[in-house]
């Protein structure tokens, strides 16, 4: 875990609500209110997507929603920026490969 246990200014984190989400089939916990990218970073998960041309992996880069590097498939929706998306209980988060694939409509 990459969580800062004792922050030099904010000190210890006292209490927090925890939510559970699914990342590529694996159940993970997150702190209520944080972004998907932050929750994955806290678990040490770097690769959020691969790129369409080269297939190379990408991870959190700009942190402010400007670049394409944290675009993931979230609850079936493609190209969702994980750094701007608040994690929710039961959310299904998937690594996006290239441009991704929409699930077939019923």
């Amino acid at each position: 875990m990459n969580r800062i246990t004792s922050h030099p200014v904010f000190g210890e984190r006292t209490s927090h609500d925890v939510v559970t989400f699914v990342f590529d089939g694996q159940e993970l916990t997150a702190l209520d209110g944080e972004s998907v990218a932050t929750a994955l970073q806290a678990h040490g998960i770097a690769v959020l997507r691969t790129m369409p041309e080269t297939g190379s992996p990408r991870s959190l880069f700009c942190g402010v929603g400007r670049c394409p590097d944290c675009m993931m498939t979230i609850d079936g929706v493609l190209n969702v920026r994980a750094c701007l998306t608040t994690v929710r209980d039961g959310m299904v988060v998937e690594t996006q490969h290239g441009l991704g694939t929409w699930a077939a409509k019923e």
Partner: protein
């Protein structure tokens, strides 16, 4: 739907806060649009003590405390703050395109004050697209908004105040090894699935994270969309809107303040905001506000980045365009950024050239022997932020 306000301010960092408070004090209806969850801009992820601020601000408090102070002041002043909301286009008749998670609308205002701040200066080196390489802003937000370490063994690239802050904050938050690399010349990084080494000056260091902390550059995309007059700033190394003493652009209804017009201190940004807020509302405090700006130093000079970029290096991250592809296009006659963009797709991705415009200009300068100040930026077009098509479809004419 079209909404109206006397003054619309885009960006709730120090300059936007100054403008909104000054305009509201003079009785104007003010709408402050900000893409973050709460006002404050970078102050929200700044823990350093803020000193030498203008007298109407609390002095000697930490950055995030100043952000909290501002949020309370804005509410007290009756400013309508729209957080988690983006202004992505500036069209005719002083009309902004505005989108949040729940709505899209046009906002027409007598004065538009662009306080959109700055973005991280980045520079391509082999391996910079690997997971584990991130900007200073991403790192500082992780540390202080989220209380998460970007990594344990970290190299920080940069030689200025920003790099110094990132190094100190990483160490303070408990990263196990932090190394500062001052020069980007000849830098190489590598790893499989994640960066695991960086090489500088023949020295290879084992790392799991690299933070690019080269400095900040003005981001005034909305003003450029409106095609206000702009000029090359040798201080910032990019084109910025031309402004008069009141920070009014060549379009009298559009102001540009703070980092968006030239990277500056928090004190200076706030003071510029007060000037624009006073000028937009014909306030009686204008001359005093102008005098205060004059008393604050402008921003420090950002050294031009001109180091060679090795073949194989990704220059445009969004469209995955490499240095040699750009060089070949330049040799073939694409000596403007717009031409280079059309030939290679470089700068055509969703970052809208934020992270490659500067590099493309330098490549043209190096390859075609042109002065950087003669290479105009790519044409700015809406949307300035990534928004769903539905957001535009919801706009009524």
């Amino acid at each position: 739907m079209t909404r109206t306000a006397d003054v619309a301010v885009v960006g709730a960092g120090p300059s936007g806060i100054g403008a909104a408070l000054a305009a509201a004090r003079n009785g104007a209806s003010v709408m402050l649009i900000d893409e973050n969850k709460a006002p404050g801009g970078h102050l929200r992820w700044t823990v350093a003590l803020q000193n030498n601020l203008p007298p109407d601000l609390p002095d000697g408090v930490r950055g995030f405390e100043l952000a909290l102070w501002a949020a309370a002041k804005l509410a007290e002043a009756g400013v309508e703050v729209l957080s988690s909301t983006v202004a992505w286009g500036l069209f005719e008749d002083n009309t902004l395109g505005v989108t949040s998670a729940s709505s899209s609308f046009q906002l027409r205002a007598d004065s538009i004050v662009i306080a959109s701040g700055s973005t991280d200066i980045v520079w391509p080196f082999p391996g910079w697209e690997l997971p584990g390489v991130l900007t200073a802003t991403a790192a500082l937000r992780l540390l202080h908004l989220d209380r998460v370490l970007p990594g344990q063994r970290v190299a920080v690239i940069g030689d200025g105040d920003l790099a110094t802050t990132v190094v100190a904050d990483l160490q303070g938050c408990g990263a196990s090894a932090v190394e500062q690399i001052r020069s980007i010349d000849g830098l190489t990084a590598g790893g499989v699935g994640r960066v695991n080494w960086i090489e500088s000056d023949g020295q290879r260091t084992s790392v799991d994270t690299i933070v690019i902390a080269l400095g900040r550059q003005p981001d005034a995309q909305l003003a450029h969309q409106a095609q206000v007059a702009s000029a090359y700033s040798a201080t910032d190394g990019v084109f910025v809107p031309v402004r008069d003493e009141s920070f009014r652009t060549s379009d009298p209804g559009i102001f540009v303040i703070g980092d968006a017009g030239g990277v500056c201190s928090t004190a200076r940004a706030f003071a510029e905001g007060v000037v624009a807020g006073e000028a937009a509302t014909q306030g009686s405090g204008l001359s005093e506000a102008r005098a205060r700006v004059q008393s604050i130093e402008p921003g420090a000079v950002t050294p031009a980045l001109t180091v060679p970029i090795a073949d194989g290096t990704i220059v445009c991250r969004c469209e995955e365009v490499r240095a040699e592809t750009m060089r070949a296009a330049i040799a073939d006659g694409a000596v403007t950024i717009n031409d280079l963009k059309r030939r290679t797709r470089g700068g055509m991705g969703i970052c809208q050239g934020v992270y490659c415009n500067r590099t493309m200009a330098t490549l043209i300068s190096q390859e075609a022997g042109l002065q950087p100040g003669t290479i105009v930026p790519m044409t700015a077009r809406p949307p300035a932020r990534m928004i769903p098509m539905a957001a535009m479809a919801d706009l009524e004419p």
